[in-house]
Amino acid sequence: MTTRAAWPALPALILLLVFFLFPVVRMLGFSVEAGTLDWYAKALGEGLYLRVFWNTFEIALLVTLFCLLLGYPLGFLMATTTPGWATFGFICVLLPLWTSVLVRTYAWMVLLGRNGVLNRTLMESGLTTDPLPLLHNFTGVLIGMVHVLLPYMVLPIYGAVRRVDPAIPAAAAGLGASSARIFWRIYLPLTLNGIFAGSVLVFVLSLGFFITPALLGGGRVMMIAVLIEQQVRETLNWPFAAALSAVLLVFTFAVYAVAQRFTQSEATR
């Protein structure tokens, strides 16, 4: 397609090769060092570990779903409101993105704990009598991850809505479509690519997410990245950690490949 020289990309390629690809390959090598696939058999054969994979998948799916439910209206509003409000929306979406995930996750711990801001407010206002279990469980992980990953959903959707020529929904209104019908018949189909891009991004990021599930899950919500870290740091079982990483990597690639196919068939239609 293009005959332009590739050399400007060379420094970055070398950097990736030396500091990313090489360590990954080296690490994956650990998993088959013994010359057998035993560690893979363990990762994929034992119910305990399959459960962790399933858990990860389930959380990633739910996080994606909630990000979509929250992110679509937000992205949509930002794309269709006045420039002033759009800027305000951008600040709200991007500010967290520029803040460390660690800081944000600790902030959620302050908010969600047994004596956290949220529970105290709820009890003082008389809405609940006992503190709600919001931290160190599934709910906490979900809340934290949705918050951290929301921008990755909002931005592609914002972009997709912005690409819709404003004359098109106006034409639909002029032809007799109510706001609801304009949304279902016009905006939604025309922004599917943004929904898709945001969902894949959030889902893939969720699969390997570590800090938030580790801190907000308090060791009770086991996601694959948390398990890998445990194997490396606590049980020092590097080959098994490597095997788990390989499975995660393959799964992530698979998701990505399927997504790629979809967007391509969409583009060539």
Binding site: A167, L175, G176, P189
Partner: protein, 352 residues
């Protein structure tokens, strides 16, 4: 402001009364009033920024006026949302739904009105046949040429028998040849269906081709509403005279009945009943000059252009007056620098 003959004919299907709209300090519409008769095609002609698009948006419901009323068929629609107005509109860039087939695009307004499947099929078929696009039902808009997209937009705007058809500079994106074809086609269709139509354009030639009447707009106000010939032959003011067609506009004072004194002392014989002493504008169309006309102008040719059927000559006359003259292209093109004399009869001069 003059009102042409067409205004009184038939019943006023669309009535715009005292519509005003400002955006911040900018007055987009300065209390505009006009009426369009049942089945009439009225063109709103004006340069960009004249308020014509804002007026169309007010009629379509995309803008709410600060003051005034819009009535269609006797019903006040000023506060109705676009979806409830029953107005078909063709947008500048057609605004076809890119993800829907031609058929689904045209079926859209019918679906919004909960028309039955069989009825939709029948009416979409009819509408597409009318714009000569039968057989293109399954195509997507991007698989069509500009002219075909335009036809789809037109079919979509008329398929639900709207009370009013609005055309917002619909031919701007088409090349000249196609534009002319589409203009005639739209005109034919509009007549056949008896659709009350407002057409927006900045192209005066297009306005002359298509319209029953033309409303010329400038700076948010209507300068003149009249039939096409009236607008061209008897413009109401400088702006209209200048905007529609080529023109030579002079200003002077009536010195006696039928005599205009120009600032340089020249006197022009005109066919006008304006009272002596009145300040008047004088319009002389370039093609109305002929050798031997009663009011003579002598000048040096500054520029001579051959335009196929006519020569377009720019004359520098005595007294510094510049004149644009068109003459039938017969014989060799007069050379620049030669001095010629042209004349114009009193009846060919319009005084306003």
């Amino acid at each position: 402001m003059r009102t042409g003959k067409g205004a009184g004919e038939g019943s006023a299907e669309l009535l715009i009364e005292g519509v005003a709209k400002r955006f911040g300090d900018v007055v987009a519409l300065d209390h505009v009033s006009l009426q369009v008769a049942q089945g009439e095609l009225l063109t709103i002609l004006g340069p960009s920024g004249s308020g014509k698009t804002t007026l169309l948006k007010v009629v379509a419901g995309f803008e709410t006026p600060d003051a005034g009323r819009v009535t269609v068929g006797g019903a006040n629609i000023t506060a109705l949302p676009p979806a409830k107005r029953d107005i078909g509109m063709v947008f500048q860039n057609y605004a076809l739904f890119p993800h829907l087939s031609v058929k689904a695009n045209v079926a859209f307004p019918l679906e919004m009105r909960n028309v039955g499947r069989a009825e939709i099929d029948r009416r979409v078929g009819e509408a597409l046949a009318m714009v000569e696009l039968a057989g293109y039902e399954a195509r997507l808009p991007k698989q069509l040429s500009g002219g075909q997209q335009q036809r789809v937009a037109l079919a979509r705007a008329i398929v639900f028998n709207p009370r009013l058809l609005l055309l917002d500079e619909p031919f701007g994106a088409l090349d000249r040849k196609l534009r002319e074809t589409m203009q005639l086609e739209v005109r034919r269709l509009q007549r056949r269906l008896g659709l009350t139509t407002i057409f927006i354009t900045h192209d005066q030639e297009e306005a002359l081709v298509l319209s029953d009447r033309i409303a010329v707009m400038n700076k948010g106000a209507i300068q003149q509403i009249a039939t096409t010939t009236e607008i061209y032959e008897r413009p109401a003011n400088d702006f209209v005279a200048d905007f529609v067609g080529e023109s030579n506009i002079l200003h002077g004072t009536m010195s006696a009945p039928g005599l205009v004194a120009l600032p340089d002392g020249r006197k022009l014989m005109v066919d006008s009943e304006a009272a002596p002493g009145a300040k008047v504008g004088v319009l002389m169309r370039p093609e109305r000059f002929a050798p031997g006309g009663i009011n003579e102008f002598t000048g040096e040719i500054v520029e001579a252009v051959y335009l196929g059927t006519t020569f377009k000559l720019r004359l520098a006359c005595e007294g510094g007056q510049e004149l644009l003259v068109r003459q039938p292209a017969r014989g060799p093109l007069p050379a620049a620098g030669t001095t010629i004399t042209v004349g114009i009869d009193p009846e060919a001069i319009h005084v306003f």
